[in-house]
Protein backbone atom coordinates (compact mmCIF):
# COMPACT_ATOMS: atom_id res chain seq x y z
CA UNK A 1 0.00 0.00 0.00
CA UNK A 2 2.84 2.36 0.89
CA UNK A 3 4.34 1.92 -2.59
CA UNK A 4 1.07 2.98 -4.19
CA UNK A 5 0.90 6.09 -2.04
CA UNK A 6 4.47 6.95 -3.00
CA UNK A 7 3.62 6.77 -6.70
CA UNK A 8 0.71 9.12 -6.33
CA UNK A 9 2.90 11.40 -4.21
CA UNK A 10 5.09 12.00 -7.25
CA UNK A 11 2.11 12.43 -9.57
CA UNK A 12 1.83 16.02 -8.34
CA UNK A 13 3.96 18.49 -10.33
CA UNK A 14 5.14 20.27 -7.19
CA UNK A 15 6.57 17.17 -5.54
CA UNK A 16 7.97 15.76 -8.78
CA UNK A 17 9.79 18.97 -9.67
CA UNK A 18 12.89 18.46 -7.40
CA UNK A 19 13.03 14.72 -8.18
CA UNK A 20 12.92 15.47 -11.93
CA UNK A 21 15.87 17.81 -11.44
CA UNK A 22 17.94 15.12 -9.69
CA UNK A 23 17.10 12.43 -12.26
CA UNK A 24 17.76 14.83 -15.15
CA UNK A 25 21.18 15.80 -13.77
CA UNK A 26 22.24 12.17 -13.36
CA UNK A 27 20.96 11.32 -16.85
CA UNK A 28 22.77 14.26 -18.48
CA UNK A 29 26.09 13.12 -16.99
CA UNK A 30 25.56 9.44 -17.87
CA UNK A 31 24.36 10.31 -21.39
CA UNK A 32 27.46 12.43 -22.02
CA UNK A 33 29.80 9.71 -20.75
CA UNK A 34 28.08 6.95 -22.73
CA UNK A 35 27.98 9.08 -25.90
CA UNK A 36 31.71 9.76 -25.57
CA UNK A 37 32.41 6.04 -25.08
CA UNK A 38 30.05 5.11 -27.94
CA UNK A 39 31.55 7.62 -30.34
CA UNK A 40 35.07 6.50 -29.41
CA UNK A 41 34.22 2.85 -30.08
CA UNK A 42 32.34 3.84 -33.25
CA UNK A 43 35.03 6.01 -34.79
CA UNK A 44 38.31 4.51 -33.55
CA UNK A 45 37.78 0.90 -32.43
CA UNK A 46 35.16 -0.53 -34.81
CA UNK A 47 36.66 -1.92 -38.05
CA UNK A 48 35.96 -0.46 -41.48
CA UNK A 49 33.04 -2.14 -43.20
CA UNK A 50 34.06 -4.39 -46.10
CA UNK A 51 31.25 -3.22 -48.40
CA UNK A 52 30.51 0.35 -47.40
CA UNK A 53 33.89 1.63 -46.25
CA UNK A 54 33.94 4.41 -43.67
CA UNK A 55 30.53 5.76 -44.61
CA UNK A 56 28.79 3.07 -42.57
CA UNK A 57 29.96 4.73 -39.34
CA UNK A 58 26.93 7.02 -39.51
CA UNK A 59 24.82 4.11 -38.23
CA UNK A 60 26.16 4.81 -34.74
CA UNK A 61 23.98 7.91 -34.80
CA UNK A 62 21.40 6.91 -37.39
CA UNK A 63 20.09 3.60 -36.03
CA UNK A 64 19.73 4.70 -32.38
CA UNK A 65 18.05 7.93 -33.53
CA UNK A 66 15.58 6.02 -35.71
CA UNK A 67 14.75 3.62 -32.86
CA UNK A 68 14.24 6.43 -30.39
CA UNK A 69 12.07 8.40 -32.83
CA UNK A 70 9.55 5.56 -33.10
CA UNK A 71 9.76 4.53 -29.46
CA UNK A 72 9.29 8.08 -28.17
CA UNK A 73 6.08 8.52 -30.18
CA UNK A 74 4.58 5.50 -28.42
CA UNK A 75 5.80 6.75 -25.02
CA UNK A 76 4.37 10.18 -25.75
CA UNK A 77 1.00 8.73 -26.74
CA UNK A 78 1.02 6.58 -23.59
CA UNK A 79 1.61 9.57 -21.29
CA UNK A 80 -0.97 11.59 -23.20
CA UNK A 81 -3.53 8.77 -22.87
CA UNK A 82 -2.79 8.48 -19.14
CA UNK A 83 -3.34 12.21 -18.80
CA UNK A 84 -6.62 11.98 -20.68
CA UNK A 85 -7.87 8.95 -18.72
CA UNK A 86 -6.87 9.95 -15.18
CA UNK A 87 -6.85 13.71 -15.64
CA UNK A 88 -3.35 13.98 -14.17
CA UNK A 89 -1.62 17.18 -15.10
CA UNK A 90 1.88 15.72 -14.88
CA UNK A 91 1.22 12.97 -17.46
CA UNK A 92 0.04 15.50 -20.04
CA UNK A 93 3.00 17.76 -19.32
CA UNK A 94 5.26 14.73 -19.79
CA UNK A 95 3.73 14.11 -23.23
CA UNK A 96 4.32 17.68 -24.36
CA UNK A 97 7.85 17.53 -22.94
CA UNK A 98 8.69 14.38 -24.94
CA UNK A 99 7.37 15.63 -28.31
CA UNK A 100 10.26 17.99 -29.26
CA UNK A 101 12.86 15.33 -28.38
CA UNK A 102 11.01 12.79 -30.52
CA UNK A 103 10.80 15.22 -33.42
CA UNK A 104 14.51 15.97 -33.02
CA UNK A 105 15.44 12.29 -33.26
CA UNK A 106 13.15 11.79 -36.26
CA UNK A 107 14.83 14.69 -38.00
CA UNK A 108 18.26 13.38 -37.01
CA UNK A 109 17.44 9.94 -38.40
CA UNK A 110 16.29 11.46 -41.72
CA UNK A 111 19.29 13.78 -41.89
CA UNK A 112 21.92 11.15 -41.15
CA UNK A 113 20.10 8.75 -43.46
CA UNK A 114 20.40 11.27 -46.28
CA UNK A 115 24.10 11.75 -45.58
CA UNK A 116 24.58 7.98 -45.57
CA UNK A 117 22.51 7.47 -48.70
CA UNK A 118 24.53 9.87 -50.85
CA UNK A 119 27.81 7.84 -50.93
CA UNK A 120 26.10 4.45 -50.57
CA UNK A 121 23.08 4.66 -52.89
CA UNK A 122 24.12 7.73 -54.87
CA UNK A 123 21.08 9.72 -53.79
CA UNK A 124 20.20 11.78 -50.74
CA UNK A 125 16.62 10.61 -50.83
CA UNK A 126 14.87 7.56 -52.24
CA UNK A 127 11.18 6.82 -51.77
CA UNK A 128 11.92 3.75 -49.73
CA UNK A 129 9.17 2.60 -47.39
CA UNK A 130 11.19 3.19 -44.23
CA UNK A 131 12.29 6.66 -45.26
CA UNK A 132 8.77 7.64 -46.24
CA UNK A 133 7.19 6.38 -43.03
CA UNK A 134 9.88 8.14 -40.98
CA UNK A 135 9.05 11.37 -42.83
CA UNK A 136 5.35 10.93 -42.06
CA UNK A 137 6.28 10.28 -38.42
CA UNK A 138 8.04 13.65 -38.41
CA UNK A 139 4.84 15.26 -39.74
CA UNK A 140 2.84 13.58 -36.96
CA UNK A 141 5.21 14.98 -34.32
CA UNK A 142 5.05 18.44 -35.87
CA UNK A 143 1.24 18.25 -36.05
CA UNK A 144 1.07 17.36 -32.35
CA UNK A 145 3.34 20.26 -31.42
CA UNK A 146 1.56 22.70 -33.73
CA UNK A 147 -1.84 21.78 -32.28
CA UNK A 148 -0.63 22.28 -28.72
CA UNK A 149 1.03 25.55 -29.65
CA UNK A 150 -2.16 26.87 -31.27
CA UNK A 151 -4.31 26.35 -28.16
CA UNK A 152 -3.92 28.94 -25.42
CA UNK A 153 -5.71 27.08 -22.62
CA UNK A 154 -3.19 24.46 -21.38
CA UNK A 155 -5.88 21.99 -20.25
CA UNK A 156 -7.55 22.01 -23.64
CA UNK A 157 -4.13 21.80 -25.33
CA UNK A 158 -3.29 18.71 -23.24
CA UNK A 159 -6.53 16.92 -24.02
CA UNK A 160 -6.62 17.83 -27.71
CA UNK A 161 -3.00 16.75 -28.09
CA UNK A 162 -3.75 13.50 -26.28
CA UNK A 163 -6.59 12.63 -28.64
CA UNK A 164 -4.41 13.42 -31.65
CA UNK A 165 -1.54 11.32 -30.28
CA UNK A 166 -3.87 8.35 -29.70
CA UNK A 167 -5.33 8.64 -33.22
CA UNK A 168 -1.77 8.91 -34.51
CA UNK A 169 -0.51 5.86 -32.65
CA UNK A 170 -3.40 3.77 -34.00
CA UNK A 171 -2.59 5.01 -37.49
CA UNK A 172 1.17 4.51 -37.39
CA UNK A 173 1.08 0.75 -38.19
CA UNK A 174 -1.54 1.32 -40.91
CA UNK A 175 0.56 4.07 -42.48
CA UNK A 176 3.68 1.93 -42.23
CA UNK A 177 2.16 -1.08 -43.99
CA UNK A 178 0.39 1.03 -46.61
CA UNK A 179 3.72 2.64 -47.48
CA UNK A 180 5.46 -0.74 -47.61
CA UNK A 181 2.82 -2.06 -50.02
CA UNK A 182 2.89 1.15 -52.03
CA UNK A 183 6.63 0.82 -52.41
CA UNK A 184 6.57 -2.82 -53.52
CA UNK A 185 3.75 -1.93 -55.92
CA UNK A 186 5.50 0.92 -57.68
CA UNK A 187 9.06 -0.29 -57.96
CA UNK A 188 11.09 -3.41 -57.48
CA UNK A 189 13.51 -3.75 -54.61
CA UNK A 190 16.14 -1.63 -56.34
CA UNK A 191 17.48 -0.46 -53.02
CA UNK A 192 17.45 -2.60 -49.94
CA UNK A 193 18.13 -1.21 -46.53
CA UNK A 194 19.23 -4.55 -45.11
CA UNK A 195 22.90 -4.43 -44.34
CA UNK A 196 25.43 -7.20 -44.19
CA UNK A 197 23.87 -9.65 -41.75
CA UNK A 198 26.98 -10.30 -39.71
CA UNK A 199 28.11 -7.40 -37.62
CA UNK A 200 31.42 -7.17 -35.85
CA UNK A 201 31.15 -7.33 -32.07
CA UNK A 202 32.75 -3.91 -31.65
CA UNK A 203 30.28 -2.37 -34.10
CA UNK A 204 27.40 -3.79 -32.10
CA UNK A 205 28.97 -2.61 -28.85
CA UNK A 206 29.39 0.91 -30.21
CA UNK A 207 25.82 0.98 -31.40
CA UNK A 208 24.40 -0.30 -28.11
CA UNK A 209 26.43 2.30 -26.22
CA UNK A 210 24.94 4.99 -28.44
CA UNK A 211 21.43 3.58 -27.95
CA UNK A 212 21.88 3.80 -24.18
CA UNK A 213 23.28 7.32 -24.50
CA UNK A 214 20.29 8.41 -26.58
CA UNK A 215 17.89 6.84 -24.07
CA UNK A 216 19.44 8.74 -21.22
CA UNK A 217 19.59 11.91 -23.29
CA UNK A 218 15.87 11.57 -24.03
CA UNK A 219 15.04 11.17 -20.34
CA UNK A 220 17.29 14.06 -19.36
CA UNK A 221 16.04 16.42 -22.07
CA UNK A 222 12.38 15.53 -21.45
CA UNK A 223 12.65 16.00 -17.69
CA UNK A 224 14.50 19.30 -18.10
CA UNK A 225 11.77 20.48 -20.47
CA UNK A 226 9.16 19.15 -18.03
CA UNK A 227 10.66 21.34 -15.30
CA UNK A 228 10.31 24.35 -17.58
CA UNK A 229 6.68 23.47 -18.31
CA UNK A 230 5.92 23.03 -14.58
CA UNK A 231 7.54 26.41 -13.82
CA UNK A 232 5.54 28.01 -16.61
CA UNK A 233 2.17 26.62 -15.58
CA UNK A 234 2.13 26.15 -11.82
Amino acid sequence: MSAAINWFWFASPQTFFPLAGRIARACWVLAALLALAGLYVGFFVAPTDAQQGEAYRIIFIHVPAAWMSMFLYVVMALWAALGLAFNTRLSSMMASAIAPTGALFTFLALWTGALWGRPTWGAYWVWDARLTSELILLFLYLGFMALQAAIDDPRRADRAGALLAIVGVVNVPIIYYSVVWWNTLHQGASVSLTRAPSMAATMLAGMLLMVLAFWLYSIAASLTRLRCIIRERE
Binding site: L147, A150, A160, L163, I175
Partner: protein, 222 residues
Protein backbone atom coordinates in the same frame (compact mmCIF):
# COMPACT_ATOMS: atom_id res chain seq x y z
CA UNK B 1 -31.87 8.17 -31.39
CA UNK B 2 -32.74 7.29 -34.99
CA UNK B 3 -35.13 10.24 -35.06
CA UNK B 4 -32.37 12.59 -33.90
CA UNK B 5 -30.00 11.27 -36.55
CA UNK B 6 -32.65 11.66 -39.25
CA UNK B 7 -33.41 15.17 -38.05
CA UNK B 8 -29.74 16.22 -38.18
CA UNK B 9 -29.32 14.64 -41.61
CA UNK B 10 -32.37 16.48 -42.95
CA UNK B 11 -31.27 19.77 -41.39
CA UNK B 12 -27.71 19.62 -42.75
CA UNK B 13 -28.85 18.63 -46.22
CA UNK B 14 -31.36 21.47 -46.19
CA UNK B 15 -28.70 23.94 -45.08
CA UNK B 16 -26.40 22.74 -47.86
CA UNK B 17 -29.23 23.09 -50.35
CA UNK B 18 -29.83 26.68 -49.27
CA UNK B 19 -26.14 27.46 -49.64
CA UNK B 20 -25.32 25.75 -52.89
CA UNK B 21 -22.26 27.98 -53.39
CA UNK B 22 -20.26 26.15 -50.70
CA UNK B 23 -20.78 22.77 -52.31
CA UNK B 24 -19.91 24.12 -55.75
CA UNK B 25 -16.71 25.76 -54.45
CA UNK B 26 -15.19 22.53 -53.16
CA UNK B 27 -16.16 20.73 -56.34
CA UNK B 28 -14.71 23.47 -58.52
CA UNK B 29 -11.52 23.36 -56.47
CA UNK B 30 -11.24 19.62 -57.18
CA UNK B 31 -11.57 20.20 -60.93
CA UNK B 32 -9.19 23.18 -61.00
CA UNK B 33 -6.41 21.43 -59.04
CA UNK B 34 -6.60 18.44 -61.36
CA UNK B 35 -6.64 20.72 -64.42
CA UNK B 36 -3.50 22.58 -63.30
CA UNK B 37 -1.23 19.53 -63.40
CA UNK B 38 -1.09 19.12 -67.19
CA UNK B 39 -0.11 22.80 -67.43
CA UNK B 40 2.74 22.14 -65.04
CA UNK B 41 4.11 18.80 -66.21
CA UNK B 42 3.32 18.96 -69.93
CA UNK B 43 0.58 17.39 -72.01
CA UNK B 44 2.16 14.14 -73.26
CA UNK B 45 -0.70 11.63 -73.15
CA UNK B 46 1.53 8.81 -71.86
CA UNK B 47 2.77 10.89 -68.93
CA UNK B 48 -0.70 12.19 -68.10
CA UNK B 49 -2.08 8.67 -68.05
CA UNK B 50 0.70 7.63 -65.66
CA UNK B 51 0.13 10.45 -63.16
CA UNK B 52 -3.69 10.56 -63.44
CA UNK B 53 -4.51 8.27 -60.45
CA UNK B 54 -2.24 10.17 -58.10
CA UNK B 55 -3.36 13.60 -59.28
CA UNK B 56 -7.06 12.83 -59.03
CA UNK B 57 -6.62 11.36 -55.57
CA UNK B 58 -4.48 14.21 -54.26
CA UNK B 59 -7.03 16.67 -55.62
CA UNK B 60 -9.77 14.75 -53.80
CA UNK B 61 -7.72 14.87 -50.55
CA UNK B 62 -7.25 18.65 -50.80
CA UNK B 63 -10.85 19.26 -51.74
CA UNK B 64 -12.05 17.24 -48.75
CA UNK B 65 -9.82 19.36 -46.48
CA UNK B 66 -11.38 22.51 -47.89
CA UNK B 67 -14.92 21.43 -47.11
CA UNK B 68 -14.02 19.95 -43.70
CA UNK B 69 -12.86 23.27 -42.30
CA UNK B 70 -16.51 24.40 -42.36
CA UNK B 71 -17.97 21.17 -40.97
CA UNK B 72 -18.50 22.27 -37.36
CA UNK B 73 -17.60 25.96 -37.63
CA UNK B 74 -21.10 27.30 -38.36
CA UNK B 75 -22.78 25.17 -35.69
CA UNK B 76 -20.12 26.29 -33.24
CA UNK B 77 -20.60 29.96 -34.12
CA UNK B 78 -24.38 30.04 -33.70
CA UNK B 79 -24.52 27.82 -30.61
CA UNK B 80 -26.19 24.82 -32.26
CA UNK B 81 -23.22 22.66 -31.38
CA UNK B 82 -23.64 23.35 -27.66
CA UNK B 83 -27.28 22.28 -27.85
CA UNK B 84 -26.19 19.07 -29.55
CA UNK B 85 -23.65 18.44 -26.79
CA UNK B 86 -26.29 19.04 -24.11
CA UNK B 87 -29.02 17.06 -25.87
CA UNK B 88 -30.18 13.59 -24.91
CA UNK B 89 -29.18 11.90 -28.16
CA UNK B 90 -25.70 10.30 -28.07
CA UNK B 91 -23.15 12.70 -29.58
CA UNK B 92 -21.56 9.92 -31.63
CA UNK B 93 -24.83 9.32 -33.47
CA UNK B 94 -25.32 13.03 -34.14
CA UNK B 95 -21.77 13.27 -35.45
CA UNK B 96 -22.31 10.23 -37.68
CA UNK B 97 -25.44 11.85 -39.15
CA UNK B 98 -23.61 15.13 -39.72
CA UNK B 99 -20.80 13.27 -41.45
CA UNK B 100 -23.22 11.37 -43.67
CA UNK B 101 -24.78 14.68 -44.72
CA UNK B 102 -21.35 16.17 -45.27
CA UNK B 103 -20.26 13.25 -47.42
CA UNK B 104 -23.47 13.40 -49.48
CA UNK B 105 -22.84 17.06 -50.36
CA UNK B 106 -19.02 17.07 -50.49
CA UNK B 107 -17.87 13.52 -51.23
CA UNK B 108 -20.47 12.12 -53.57
CA UNK B 109 -20.18 14.98 -56.10
CA UNK B 110 -16.45 14.20 -56.36
CA UNK B 111 -17.29 10.62 -57.27
CA UNK B 112 -19.75 11.87 -59.85
CA UNK B 113 -17.40 14.33 -61.51
CA UNK B 114 -14.26 12.15 -61.40
CA UNK B 115 -14.99 10.47 -64.79
CA UNK B 116 -14.75 13.94 -66.36
CA UNK B 117 -11.22 14.31 -65.00
CA UNK B 118 -10.42 10.78 -66.13
CA UNK B 119 -11.49 11.89 -69.61
CA UNK B 120 -9.16 14.90 -69.41
CA UNK B 121 -6.28 12.62 -68.52
CA UNK B 122 -7.12 10.08 -71.23
CA UNK B 123 -7.67 7.16 -68.87
CA UNK B 124 -9.06 4.12 -70.71
CA UNK B 125 -12.80 3.60 -70.25
CA UNK B 126 -12.57 0.31 -68.27
CA UNK B 127 -10.82 2.21 -65.48
CA UNK B 128 -13.79 4.51 -64.85
CA UNK B 129 -15.52 1.87 -62.76
CA UNK B 130 -12.48 1.34 -60.56
CA UNK B 131 -12.01 5.10 -60.19
CA UNK B 132 -15.61 5.64 -59.13
CA UNK B 133 -15.56 2.66 -56.77
CA UNK B 134 -12.26 3.67 -55.13
CA UNK B 135 -13.52 7.23 -54.61
CA UNK B 136 -16.84 5.88 -53.34
CA UNK B 137 -15.01 3.84 -50.70
CA UNK B 138 -12.24 6.35 -50.00
CA UNK B 139 -13.96 9.73 -49.71
CA UNK B 140 -16.07 8.73 -46.65
CA UNK B 141 -12.81 7.71 -44.91
CA UNK B 142 -11.41 11.16 -45.70
CA UNK B 143 -14.49 12.77 -44.15
CA UNK B 144 -14.32 10.53 -41.07
CA UNK B 145 -10.61 11.02 -40.36
CA UNK B 146 -10.64 14.67 -41.34
CA UNK B 147 -13.55 15.44 -39.03
CA UNK B 148 -11.39 14.44 -36.03
CA UNK B 149 -8.96 17.17 -37.06
CA UNK B 150 -11.80 19.59 -37.76
CA UNK B 151 -13.23 19.00 -34.27
CA UNK B 152 -9.83 19.40 -32.59
CA UNK B 153 -9.04 22.68 -34.38
CA UNK B 154 -12.50 24.13 -33.81
CA UNK B 155 -12.31 27.86 -33.13
CA UNK B 156 -8.50 28.05 -33.21
CA UNK B 157 -6.61 30.77 -34.99
CA UNK B 158 -5.06 29.50 -38.21
CA UNK B 159 -7.41 26.52 -37.98
CA UNK B 160 -7.42 25.78 -41.70
CA UNK B 161 -3.66 25.41 -42.10
CA UNK B 162 -3.39 23.53 -38.82
CA UNK B 163 -6.13 21.14 -39.99
CA UNK B 164 -4.06 20.33 -43.08
CA UNK B 165 -0.97 19.66 -40.98
CA UNK B 166 -2.87 17.33 -38.63
CA UNK B 167 -4.94 15.45 -41.16
CA UNK B 168 -2.82 15.04 -44.30
CA UNK B 169 -0.35 12.57 -42.74
CA UNK B 170 -3.31 10.47 -41.60
CA UNK B 171 -4.68 10.46 -45.17
CA UNK B 172 -1.64 8.58 -46.48
CA UNK B 173 -3.16 5.06 -46.39
CA UNK B 174 -6.28 6.22 -48.26
CA UNK B 175 -4.15 7.88 -50.93
CA UNK B 176 -1.91 4.83 -51.28
CA UNK B 177 -4.75 2.33 -51.59
CA UNK B 178 -6.97 4.59 -53.69
CA UNK B 179 -4.35 5.51 -56.26
CA UNK B 180 -2.89 2.00 -55.96
CA UNK B 181 -6.14 0.35 -57.01
CA UNK B 182 -6.16 2.47 -60.17
CA UNK B 183 -2.52 1.64 -60.89
CA UNK B 184 -3.31 -2.06 -60.51
CA UNK B 185 -6.27 -1.77 -62.87
CA UNK B 186 -4.20 0.23 -65.37
CA UNK B 187 -1.53 -2.48 -65.32
CA UNK B 188 -4.19 -5.06 -66.14
CA UNK B 189 -4.24 -6.62 -62.68
CA UNK B 190 -7.25 -7.12 -60.44
CA UNK B 191 -7.70 -4.07 -58.15
CA UNK B 192 -9.88 -6.02 -55.69
CA UNK B 193 -7.17 -6.31 -53.04
CA UNK B 194 -6.64 -2.55 -52.79
CA UNK B 195 -10.37 -1.86 -52.90
CA UNK B 196 -10.96 -4.34 -50.11
CA UNK B 197 -8.30 -2.61 -48.02
CA UNK B 198 -10.08 0.70 -48.68
CA UNK B 199 -13.33 -0.92 -47.59
CA UNK B 200 -11.61 -2.19 -44.45
CA UNK B 201 -10.39 1.34 -43.69
CA UNK B 202 -13.93 2.58 -44.19
CA UNK B 203 -15.41 0.00 -41.80
CA UNK B 204 -12.81 0.65 -39.09
CA UNK B 205 -13.01 4.43 -39.33
CA UNK B 206 -16.82 4.39 -39.47
CA UNK B 207 -16.85 2.35 -36.26
CA UNK B 208 -14.37 4.43 -34.27
CA UNK B 209 -14.14 7.91 -35.77
CA UNK B 210 -17.59 9.21 -34.65
CA UNK B 211 -16.70 8.56 -31.01
CA UNK B 212 -13.25 10.13 -31.39
CA UNK B 213 -14.91 13.15 -33.05
CA UNK B 214 -17.44 13.36 -30.22
CA UNK B 215 -14.61 13.32 -27.66
CA UNK B 216 -12.73 15.98 -29.65
CA UNK B 217 -15.85 18.19 -29.78
CA UNK B 218 -16.25 17.90 -26.00
CA UNK B 219 -12.60 18.89 -25.53
CA UNK B 220 -12.92 21.85 -27.90
CA UNK B 221 -16.12 23.32 -26.49
CA UNK B 222 -15.74 22.91 -22.75
Amino acid sequence: MIAAARCILRRDLLLALRRRGDVATALLFFVIVASLFPLGVGAEPEQLRAIAPGVIWVAALLSSLLSLARLFADDHADGTLEQMLLGAAPLGVIVAAKLLAHWLVAGLPLVAIAPLLALQYGLPAPLYGTLALSLLLGTPVLSLIGAIGAALTLGLRGGGVLLALLVLPLYVPVLVFGAGSLDMAAAGLAPQGQLQLLAALLVVSAAFAPWAIAAALRISTE
